[in-house]
């Protein structure tokens, strides 16, 4: 077959056939309206002058380049995010993320809340890691107020936090496969998640927005229902995780679309502020649980896992390794859990002395930290949250140029951003 053989366009064939039938029946040719539906809405240039150099650069189009709009209501942007993508054909030239579609001003809301009710506001931020969202303010507020949570409360905190990490990472596995067109793994992921969520609802009373941490302890003690469910879950979890892993890891399409895609070097990852599993998948052994130990992590045995490759596949394998590590940690925590109270004595309305405190935890997406400033009143004077997916998102415009549009989602899903956290 020589290369000058033309492949007929099926649409043209269909139109020719329709025109032939119409003329045979003595009808006028059909009127054509509009273009074909393309799935993406193309964006025009903005109706105002560019504000910055970067914006000028983005909106200056060379021959053959085009801007397309992805989102904010796109099924694979993991929430409501908009990407303005500059393309030549199907190859991405540049990307500009446009955020703020889910901005609720949580930092401002927290300035008008008491130290206890802040916990309810931070829950819906990174809604797949609500326990971690509550952990960092609890650490910061306890530092401000100068109290320590009882030992058993710290163990329960570590336990629920690791359970939360398991379900967050197992959902990431499913979403990554879903963004490459695999429907089955997400069903397994949601089964895995549901089991953990049932566990957490047995201890906290809520399925998603737990509102479980308190300044100086936790809301409820771990009850018998929780421990009996935990035993059942623990007996099966390795098997179910392996099962969902088997569906994805060696899949040919999955490997072709992840290995060597979106390679982020360790140096770039540090410069971009990427943290958590994404940073460790680039070979940098930075884990807040080891680097700056908090809660009971100094008493537990674990290693910082890293992968060297830094591509989408490494980020996926990193998550699986961390699920297994979290299960190992949960075993240790349950083994060592002491008896005692779960809540320190704190007054109803907490008024810390004027001061500043910084609390950081390792969330499933990286370094999640809170900087709280107190002026002596019942509300935090300033409540600042550093959300890891907000910062990690900066890697997408760096990685994507030169790749195809379709791979944008695949690489983005491997970073596992949650828009509730990005937009605060």
């Amino acid at each position: 077959m020589t290369s000058d053989v033309k492949i007929p366009d099926p649409l043209e064939l269909e139109r020719a056939e329709e025109a032939r039938l119409r003329s045979a029946a003595g009808l006028a040719p059909a009127a054509r309206t509009g273009g074909e539906y393309s799935g993406f809405e193309s964006v025009g240039l903005p109706d105002r002058p560019p504000e910055t150099e970067r914006e000028q650069e983005l909106y200056t189009l060379d021959e053959g380049e085009m801007l397309v709009n992805m989102g904010p209501q796109h099924p694979s942007t993991h929430g409501v995010m908009r990407l303005v993508v500059k393309v030549r054909g199907e190859v991405v030239i540049d990307i500009d993320p446009v955020l703020g579609y889910l901005h609720r001003g949580i930092e401002k809301l927290c300035e008008n809340a008491t130290y206890t009710t802040v916990m309810t506001y931070v829950d819906p931020m990174d809604y797949l890691a609500s326990m971690h969202n509550e952990h960092a303010p609890a650490i910061a507020f306890e530092k401000l107020f100068g109290i320590k949570a009882p030992k058993r409360a710290e163990y329960i905190r570590a336990l629920v936090v690791e359970l939360n990490r398991v379900f967050s990472h197992s959902l990431m596995m499913g979403f990554l496969a879903l963004d490459m067109g695999g429907i089955t793994p997400i069903l397994y992921s949601f089964i895995n998640r549901d089991e953990v969520v049932d566990l957490l609802s047995a201890i906290s009373g809520q399925r998603m927005l737990f509102n479980f941490f308190r300044v100086g302890g936790v809301n409820f003690d771990a009850n018998d229902e929780f421990f009996s469910r935990l035993g059942t879950w623990r007996a099966n979890v390795v098997k179910t995780i392996d099962m969902s892993e088997r569906v994805i890891t060696d899949n040919e399409v999955f490997r072709a679309r992840t290995i060597g895609m979106g390679v982020l070097s360790g140096k770039d990852a540090i410069a971009l502020g990427v943290s958590g599993p994404n940073l460790r998948a680039s070979g940098v052994p930075f884990d807040v649980r080891k680097a700056h130990p908090y809660s009971i992590y100094p008493e537990l045995e674990f290693e910082v896992i890293t992968h060297a490759a830094g591509d989408s596949n490494a980020r996926y394998l990193q998550r699986i390794a961390e699920i297994k590590q979290s299960i190992h940690l949960i075993d240790q925590i349950v083994d060592k859990m002491p008896h005692g109270p779960v809540q320190a004595q704190v007054p109803g309305i907490i008024r810390p002395k004027p001061g500043r405190a910084y609390g950081a935890v390792e969330s499933p997406r990286g370094l999640y930290s809170v900087y709280a400033v107190s002026d002596g009143g019942p509300n935090p004077y300033r409540f600042r949250m550093r959300d890891p997916s907000f910062i990690s998102l900066q890697a997408i415009p760096k990685l994507m140029p030169g790749h195809l549009i379709a791979d944008t989602m695949a690489v983005m899903a491997s970073f596992d951003p949650v828009m509730g956290g990005v937009d605060k």
Binding site: T52, L99, H103, K143, R382, R386
Partner: protein, 184 residues
């Protein structure tokens, strides 16, 4: 900490520590230079920018830009507080040191109105481009939109006439007055 003071003797005046944080203050203009030395000095090697945030200390006061750094050679977080004048809120950028400071600085610009000189992409990040206020400043007040909400008047406490407690009477809000009085 001793090493830090050896290298930067002029920071000793402002040193403050708590259980796991070392805090110093610095002039805004000196920040990029200071952070670069902290990052590139092999004995200090504060390689990770953990956080950059702005704090508003009130209308007649000042802003503060707060950086948190991490180094695996030292156990504590390093916090650097930089003073920014409210009448002329300018800071030099640090995006040439850490590219990832871009979103931090865009957020500070959007929420507090601090202008980072040298940042080549200082746009609004959460609010729309035609927005003109800076919502996280302390003089930005939240509008009282409770009176316009569909549920206005359903709950007696949401009626505007009950917000002033001195005008709160039993027939306006039955049952509420006794409750409010018992709390105050």
């Amino acid at each position: 900490m001793r090493l830090l003071l050896d290298r930067f003797p002029d920071l000793a005046q402002t040193l403050w520590t708590d259980e796991d944080t070392v805090e110093v203050r610095a002039q805004g203009a000196a920040i990029p230079d200071l952070l670069q030395r902290l990052r590139d000095d092999p004995e200090l090697s504060f390689w990770f920018l953990a956080d950059a945030a702005a704090v508003d200390y009130g209308v007649d006061q000042h802003f503060e830009v707060v950086y948190h750094l991490y180094s695996d050679k030292h156990p504590a977080w390093l916090r650097i507080r930089a003073h920014v004048r409210r009448s002329d809120p300018h800071m030099p950028t640090i995006t040439h040191l850490w590219e990832g400071a871009m979103f931090h600085e865009r957020e500070m610009y959007d929420m507090m109105g601090i202008v980072f000189d040298g940042n080549r992409d200082l746009r609004r990040i959460y609010m729309s481009p035609d927005y003109r206020s800076f919502p996280q400043r302390k003089d930005f007040l939240l509008p009282d939109d409770a009176a316009d909400s569909p549920a206005a008047g359903v709950n007696p406490l949401e009626r505007p006439e009950t917000w002033d407690l001195s005008r709160l009477t039993e027939e306006l809000a039955p049952g509420v007055v006794a409750h409010v009085k018992s709390e105050t």
